[in-house]
């Protein structure tokens, strides 16, 4: 008959122990302990009838799938095995012990006295099956274990593999580099990564894989495990896997989705690609006279912007409005957002009047444009300039009359005091 044992430890003895065991009997003990434990069995006493390969009386220790040991006799010989001081460990949480005696027991063998206990299984050190071991970190505890992941990873629902949250990668720049997670380290398992390149309509995105391209593949079946797929509008490229990178991909679209799938096994380095968005080209530009275009490029394409500025002393003139700089942009249809403006020389305009003074132009044509000069002077001899300045003003690049001492302030004519034109005839004695 069978005895079911579910405790975490216990004792098993042959029938009638410590007296001799009866003949022609068979007892099975089925020990079951919780998952995460195994069973350790050791004998305190063992005394059975010996026989060649234990064909008469024996104790057999087994699991569901295999016989762990068969004992008989009083000591180990080349044909019989006794447990001695050895322990028997079950690989899993189940162990079955069967005691059998045949019809004779004249020598009154006393049988056995054994103890068993549940011992923790350290899944972290013992797990050979890569399929079942922790992906990153394994933490053993009495009765079980759990897996954890490196920072930035998430434990998959299989509680074993580590994946990354990589489903919301958005790229909006005109160029960029995209890689599998943790590249060039092996990419995480059980991950579904999405990368979106989203640009303004008018751009065309092209992809170029670089460096290593290493995605788990299968010799016969196309990418059954891990793969990368590219989608742009109705077009789809891939799935790609293996070690040969795809050629450059010109999507002809401004919006591209990249999907990367990895299953829960394998150690592959992954992939890296760079993308570039170009748009329609706009016609070459000629800088305005007395001006320049920045940046100066041989070609301009959609979204490229240029800044037109003028040389010192000149202002950008657009629709009769003066400004320091003017920006135009290459539109998606390959035309410029505006025509190139002209550069107008800064004009300081007629200089303001000076109280008790006058302004003179050194040039006959009384120029008031950039770098022209005027001279303020006071009504001599009745007024004198307050500051020690020449009164010379130059039209600055900002369109303001500037003096090297007074800046943009006009001079001040102060009345000359105490110097009459007429002096007393020398009457002083």
């Amino acid at each position: 008959h069978a005895v079911e044992l579910n405790d975490m430890f216990g004792q098993i003895q042959s029938p009638g122990y410590p007296d001799s065991y009866p003949s022609d009997s068979e007892v099975t003990w089925n020990i079951t302990v919780p998952e995460g434990f195994r069973i350790k069995l050791y004998f305190m006493h063992f005394n059975l009838e010996s026989s060649y390969l234990c064909e008469y009386d024996y104790v057999k220790v087994e699991t569901e799938y295999q016989v762990l040991a068969t004992f008989c006799g009083q000591e180990t010989t080349d044909t019989e095995q006794t447990p001695g001081q050895e322990v028997v460990l079950s690989p899993g949480s189940f162990m079955s012990i069967t005691f059998r005696s045949d019809f004779s027991n004249e020598e009154r063998f006393t049988g056995f006295d054994a103890h068993y206990m549940a011992v923790d299984v350290d899944e972290c050190t013992e797990r050979e099956d890569e399929e079942l071991s922790c992906d990153h970190y394994c933490h053993n505890y009495i009765g079980g274990y759990y897996c954890s992941c490196r920072f930035g990873y998430i434990l998959h629902t299989d509680n074993r593999t580590c994946r990354v949250e990589c489903s919301d990668n958005l790229f909006t720049q005109r160029t960029g580099v995209i890689t599998s997670p943790d590249f060039p380290n092996p990419y995480p398992k059980s991950s579904e990564c999405f990368y979106t390149i989203q640009l303004e309509e008018g751009f065309m995105v092209s992809l170029q894989f670089e460096d290593v391209f290493d995605i788990e593949d299968h010799p016969e079946v196309t990418c059954p495990y891990d793969y990368i797929k590219i989608k742009a509008g109705p077009k789809v490229w891939g799935p790609f896997c293996g070690e040969k990178a795809p050629e450059q991909i010109n999507t002809q679209s401004h919006s591209v989705q990249i999907m990367f799938h990895s299953d829960n096994s394998g150690e592959n380095q992954g992939w890296r690609l760079s993308y570039r968005a170009t748009g329609n080209e706009c016609p070459e530009l000629q800088p305005p006279i007395h001006g320049k275009i920045e940046p100066s490029q041989a070609k301009y394409s959609f979204k490229d912007q240029v800044l037109i500025s003028c040389d010192t002393g000149y202002k950008v003139l657009k629709d009769d409005v003066e400004m320091d700089t003017f920006q135009i942009e290459c539109l998606k249809d390959g035309t410029w957002s505006n025509k190139i403006p002209t550069c107008k020389i800064a004009d300081c305009g007629a200089p303001a009047e000076l109280e008790h003074g006058l302004v003179t132009f050194p040039t006959r044509n009384k120029l008031t444009t950039y770098k022209s000069e005027i001279r303020y002077s006071c009504q001599q001899p009745y007024y004198k300039m307050l500051h020690n300045t020449t009164g010379v003003y130059t039209c600055s690049a900002q369109g303001v009359w500037m003096n090297e001492v007074l800046g943009r302030s006009r001079p001040t004519c102060l009345p000359v005091c105490g110097i009459p034109k007429f002096s007393r005839k020398l009457i002083a004695r």
Binding site: H356, C417, G418, I419, P420, K421, K425, A428
Partner: protein
């Protein structure tokens, strides 16, 4: 001006004539900056009756009570170069005492600036105190001998008198000569300012700079031209800060 001589036209272009609407002059003054006239405070209020000797606003002249004429030479006749100017504001020195003539100084702001020319030019303000023994020129259209008024602007050239000497000369008359005053004249009398010259300029020449500057303004004296009765003037340098503060002026 007692015992003076007619001033040469254009040699005193800073002098201002304060005159009633009937054009009769009642005081002198000096143009400073482009639109200020320095004169005597006692020119700008009614005479006080002896009982109540404090000054009331009602005693003050208002800007419309008088005008200022620049470029004058003749006392009554018109001058081709004269410029009649109306008055915008009057500022009496805050410490002016009508009984003792202390800080007998006033500033008149002109409603418009005169046109400066050979006959109209401001006088400079003093940069420092007057040195001992300086000789000054005092000008005015005030009374001469026998109470007669001159035809034209008159002037005298007199020495500055030591402050202590002047104080001692007036002590017997119980008159105080304070630090804001300066005296000038001859010990034996003779040349002096007189009624009608009040507020007018006392100037001296800064030889180094070749510039005339205002030393004082005609203020008071006992009689005119008497022996030991020096002319007493309001000392400009003493009150220069106040003048600069009110006028915002700089030479």
């Amino acid at each position: 001006i007692i015992n003076g001589r007619p001033a040469q036209r254009g040699t005193t272009p800073w002098i201002a004539m304060l005159s009633h609407p009937n054009r009769l002059p009642f005081c002198g003054g000096s143009l400073v900056g482009s639109n200020w006239v320095v004169t005597a405070a006692h020119c700008l209020h009614q005479s006080l009756d002896s009982e109540d000797s404090s000054l009331h606003d009602s005693d003050l002249l208002s800007p419309s009570d008088f005008q200022i004429i620049m470029g004058k030479h003749w006392r009554v006749r018109s001058d081709e170069n004269e410029q009649q100017l109306s008055v915008k504001h009057i500022f009496l020195h805050p410490q002016y005492d009508p009984n003792t003539f202390e800080n007998d100084l006033a500033l008149v702001e002109l409603a418009e600036s005169p046109v400066l020319n050979d006959f109209v030019m401001p006088i400079c303000l003093p940069e420092g105190p007057l040195h001992e023994g300086a000789v000054v020129i005092v000008s005015g259209w005030g009374k001469q001998f026998f109470q007669r008024f001159p035809e034209t602007l008159m002037e005298i050239e007199i020495p500055i008198v030591d402050h202590d000497i002047c104080q001692k000369a007036y002590a017997p008359l119980k008159k105080k000569v304070t630090r804001d005053m300066i005296c000038a004249g001859e010990k034996e009398g003779g040349k002096d300012a007189c009624s009608g010259d009040s507020g007018g300029p006392m100037v001296t020449l800064d030889i180094e700079k070749g510039q005339w500057y205002l030393v004082g303004t005609v203020s008071w004296g006992e009689d005119c031209g008497k022996k030991d009765r020096y002319g007493v003037y309001s000392y400009i340098y003493h009150n220069k800060d106040w003048i600069v503060r009110v006028t915002g002026m700089r030479n």
